[in-house]
Amino acid sequence: MNIENKILKQTSLEKLVVKLKEEGKQIFAPVKKNDVVEFAGISTLQEMAEDYIVTVQSAKAFAFPKVETLFDFQLTKENVNIVEKDLNAIPETILLGARPCDAAGFESLNAIFTWDNLNDNFFVERLKKMIIIAISCSKADGRCFCTSVNGNPGATKGSDILLTKIDNGNYLAEIITEKGKAIATKYADLFETAPEVDKNKFIADVPVKFDLKTILEKIPGAFENSLWVKQSLRCISCGACAYVCPTCACFDIQDIHNGHDGHRKRSWDSCGFGLFTIHTSGHNPREVQSQRWRQRVMHKFAYMPERQQVVGCVGCGRCSRGCPVDMNLKEHLINLAEEVAK
């Protein structure tokens, strides 16, 4: 589908939010609460935060929630009854104000959850029911590096509609997918014809910091490099980076029950945790942090590119912002690129 350009006035966007809410859709947008900007349900555009780079957590929870019930069960003395979740009951969700990096993150997640034609339908159905109305970034900070990983503050990848604020406060609306077109058509009176607009004038400047090509070529051979030890010395082995990351998908499966009924749940996990790979025997293939740090970086920049043909990073910088000890991934990647190029 060719991308169609429209203009969405500020007032029209306000009306659009109201209309979509009236339709019964759930709308989530970045909302500021106590100094923290996170996705939350909104009913009016006014509730949406204005001045933010990205939300603290990514939007992945809308397709890959922090806890997903895989099925319920009932236990009796003689029998076990499994009760499945009705995936048709997943409501349509609109993500307004996601950034281009958020939208791009879903491609990486999708590559994992549909790898080799084995579909995790919880993820697939949630993504199907999601409409992403992303907003381009007019500013970035020192942690952003989307342009170094094939991204861009005004990229359309993964979004259904991309809004870019242009100089009179109104938005250039790029209608990208069929889902986006459906909205633009239904509310055609809100979407006006667009004149020629140079989008790039309104988008943040994010200089490229490292050569991705070098990293992708050389990192598979860097398994034994001593850099991993140096870089991971200050890491404290929490899961903050993995949990706020839009492309991290590692998960745990646990059963809980009260004796007669319960659930099997899938929840977020992190390869950075010390016990992530521990065997029941006590043997741990990744017992020191340098091995776990290496796994994290190589999974994103070596294994995923080779096995799933996607880079497992969108350069949003959330991991760096969320890290308690300043493990700045961008900085580490710059060092890595220099090191492997030697």
Binding site: I82, L118, N121, I253, D255, R264
Partner: protein, 279 residues
């Protein structure tokens, strides 16, 4: 296929329980749902996620051969939360099974060759499936030799099967226990598996070796095989790692870019030498 829940297990009823060794049991499982039983197929080498629903899942190979219809078997040692819960199950109880996952032993490629199976201790279960599969298609293969050892006589699993293999004229079975593990009436060999292997096997000619055992056994067995002239691509093993999903999504079992659950668990030594040393 759309809307299918890949995390949902089959319900299996425990038809029989065999106590193999201290803390080691074999379950024979039948599908509760007949339609599941009719549709289910697997190939030798594959594994599944077995669960006590309510306690969690655990990864074991399918220990029975695909040539046996109507049931699957698994053998496990009580070690942690889930295996302890499994250990406490009774005949008639229902457990969960997800599978089959993983790749297979390429037994079709082995037609016309000699087969040398080498296993230690609790690692015989992953091999039992492929041994029986080959024995059930015995005419496809030439000489079949099984070298199996354990720490002590009590630790040998599948004692019934060992007796059966011992009595078959078309199988050469060599059993051994570690020095000090023998009982007064022990008639088999005494010695570590790699040592016994080097004494009993003299050629690698037209032979495929399939090895499974604890890391220390593998460490000392590989040099013996290499000395005998086995090529790396003719030595097979089955690996394990901590798993959760079993199908390549939870990000836990990979060694480098190789996912033990998807690219394995069956690997040749040649493939293993390409894997980084992190398992």
């Amino acid at each position: 296929m759309s809307q299918e829940n890949i995390y949902k297990p089959y319900l299996m009823r425990i038809e029989s329980i065999a106590e193999e060794a201290p803390f080691v049991k074999t379950f024979r499982l039948k599908f509760v749902n007949e339609e599941d039983a009719n549709n289910f197929t697997f190939k030798t080498g594959q594994f599944g996620e077995y669960s006590v629903i309510g306690e969690g899942e655990s990864t074991f190979c399918i220990a029975s051969s695909p040539t046996k219809k109507g049931y699957i078997e698994c053998t496990f040692r009580q070690a942690g939360k889930v295996t302890s819960a499994l250990y406490r199950r009774d005949i008639g109880d229902i457990i969960g099974f997800r599978g089959p996952y993983g790749n297979i032993f390429p037994i079709d490629e082995w037609k016309g060759k000699n087969l040398l199976f080498i296993a230690g201790g609790i690692a015989l279960p992953p091999m039992r499936s492929v041994i029986w599969n080959c024995l059930d298609l015995r005419e496809n293969y030439k000489d079949v030799t099984i070298v199996y050892g354990a720490k002590s006589v009590a630790d040998l699993v599948y004692k019934e099967e060992l007796r059966e293999w011992d009595h078959r004229p078309d199988v050469k079975l060599i059993t051994t226990v570690d020095p000090g593990g023998e009982t007064p009436d022990w008639k088999g060999k005494i010695g570590f598996v790699p040592t016994v292997l080097s004494q009993e096997v003299t050629t690698s000619d037209n032979t495929i070796a399939i090895v499974c055992g604890p890391p220390i056994m593998i460490k000392f067995t590989m040099p013996v095989l290499e000395k005998l002239g086995f090529k790396n691509e003719d030595i097979y093993t089955t690996l394990e790692n901590r798993m959760k999903c079993g199908f390549g999504k939870c990000g836990r079992c990979n060694v480098g870019k190789v996912f033990i659950c998807k690219d394995g668990p069956v690997f040749t030594l040649k493939q293993m030498k390409d894997m980084p040393d992190e398992y």
